[in-house]
């Protein structure tokens, strides 16, 4: 492992992560606030709204989810605005592991199934959202979702171990889960690693956890489960994007970022687009490199989209309730 400058051991990993430079919290927040002040209007706004839709992981993660709820979510993912067929499709639907078969069945021919066009099915796994289960259970959870057809796995890291400084445990678990993402044909489901930044307390920890997850082989780093407040914030996402940028410079490898939870308005989502474009470049504004984990965001984007097409303010009665 050239990147950490020594053989990979618990000690060298720890030395490497703790040797990362500290985060300038004030500077980070000011930079994020500055990026949030851009005014995006008319044609740029129309482009931004369509881009946001294409980047959404339309999510339902409730204890009360049913196959019927998943079917209606999928219908919305395939055809977000029935009154306007030019509306793009979302990138993926994100559900609990046991709902994967329902999602795959409901998607039918719209399911990507490994191809580039089509909608992916993402499943949360590894005892989401707490991550408090034995490794065997986490791996079985993951393997089951992959076997059922999940194209993407959203795993949670063991925050308890991370905060206790046991980086080796967290690292090994990510590696093991990545291996559990292997399909029968030898390909891998995409692995998104949820850091749950709301529980990591400091920006320094977010930077460490991001490096750790990327070193361990995560394809995506994701801010939050959406079950803990605060969920995604602009400064945290900016910080994670900076890690991704540094990693790309170092290795040429492109890692994805997914802010999730708490992004409800188009205005907020556009701030994220600006931040991505200014930090890692516009190349990242594609579904395989950037996603929004959201449920209510889509409706707000559709309302804004209708406002741009009709010239009049739209209302929640004109989009589907979910």
């Amino acid at each position: 492992m050239d990147l950490i400058g020594a053989d990979l051991t618990e000690k060298s990993l720890k030395l490497h992560l703790e040797g990362l430079p500290g985060v300038d919290a004030v500077g980070l927040e000011q930079r994020a606030a500055g990026l949030g002040t851009r005014s995006i209007k008319t044609t740029s706004k129309a482009w931004a709204l369509d881009t946001i839709i294409k980047l959404i992981d339309l999510t339902t993660l409730e204890g009360a989810d049913t196959p019927g709820k998943v079917r209606s979510l999928v219908a919305k993912a395939v055809n977000p605005d029935p009154s306007d067929p030019s509306t793009p499709r979302v990138a993926a639907v994100c559900v609990y592991g046991d709902m994967v078969p329902s999602a795959v069945e409901a998607l039918g021919s719209s399911w990507s199934n490994g191809k580039d066009d089509g909608i992916n099915v993402a499943a949360v796994a590894t005892a989401f959202p707490s991550g408090r289960a034995s490794l065997a259970v986490k791996l079985a959870d993951t393997a089951d979702a992959v076997a059922n057809g999940a194209d993407e796995i959203d795993m949670v890291i063991d925050r308890g171990a991370f905060l206790a400084g046991k980086y080796g445990i967290v690292f090994d678990q990510i590696v093991a889960v990545k291996e559990a993402c292997r399909r029968a044909d030898g390909t891998y489901a995409h692995l998104k690693v949820i850091l749950e930044t709301g529980e990591l307390n400091t920006y320094d920890n977010v930077r460490k956890a991001s490096w750790l997850s990327i070193l361990a082989g995560g394809d995506f780093i994701k801010t939050s489960t959406g079950k803990v407040a605060p969920a995604a914030t602009l400064p945290v996402t900016l910080l994670m994007l900076e890690v991704v940028r540094d990693w790309h410079k170092l290795t040429g490898e492109r890692i994805g970022v997914k802010p999730a939870g708490g992004i409800r308005s188009s205005k907020d989502a556009i701030k994220y687009l600006v931040t991505v474009a200014e930090t890692v470049g516009e190349e990242w504004l594609q579904p395989h490199l950037f996603r929004f984990g959201a449920s209510s965001l889509l409706n707000d984007v559709l309302l804004q989209r209708q406002k741009l097409t009709t010239g009049r303010y739209s209302g929640p009665d004109y989009v589907t309730i979910d």
Partner: protein
Amino acid sequence: MECKQVTRLAVPKTYKLYIGGKFPRSESGRTYEVLSKKGAFLANAALASRKDARDAVVAARAALAGWSGATGYNRGQVLYRIAELLEGRREQFAEELISSEGLTKAAAAKQVDTAIDAWVWYAGWADKYVQVAGNGNPVSGPYFNLSTPEPTGVVAIVAPQSGESLLGLVAVVAPAILAGNTVVVVASESAPLAAINLSEVLATSDVPGGVVNILTGSPKEIAPWLAGHADVNALDLAGAEGLDWVYLQVIAADTLKRVLPPVTGAPAPSLERIVAFTETKTVWHTKSLI
């Protein structure tokens, strides 16, 4: 300390909008000059933009569930409380009407008193109009069949624009909120000061924020946005006489709004204005659950 001749600087008031229980400036940053009847400068008022109207609709929609879910009795108490607080500020309102509308002292006092009485009159109806407008319908079967008026939702109002700036506003707002609707009202353009002072009364009188949202500015500019807004359920064109109100009705029809046509002056208190912004819901319920 001895200061014999100190010139005290007057502290003029900043007149702002009233949206969601708060007093924001216009999002656009614009203001316009409010002049007295004789053309003298009175104040700068906020010139609301379409985005202020949009924000007001969002606030009104958010307040709807709580306000329409309150009992009629409770809403009546809140309306009566508005009258109580208005009573305590009679002189302030009268003075402002004298300067902005050029009224005599007696005429101004009369308008304020009539406005207070209108609140009390409507407050009394709050727990009674359902009994008058609703009905237990006779049906041949073991069922109750009940019709009750329910609030229409978010009502956009163009307040009367000519004369009686306080009474005109009260006469259109009170019946709408009494039935559980929430309102976005565009105040009199030429005499908006009474409306802004009324918003201070509303903010301190148990009316939840967002139930009444008051915009000052040009009805000509804002009314089309409200008429076309898909999240507005009804449109009261009371003060739209000077606007192209047929066009407003046409675009309101696109989203199936209930619309009231323009009136001259402040409409007199009436049960019709209460029922105008209600929808009749009829339910069947079995008698035999024993």
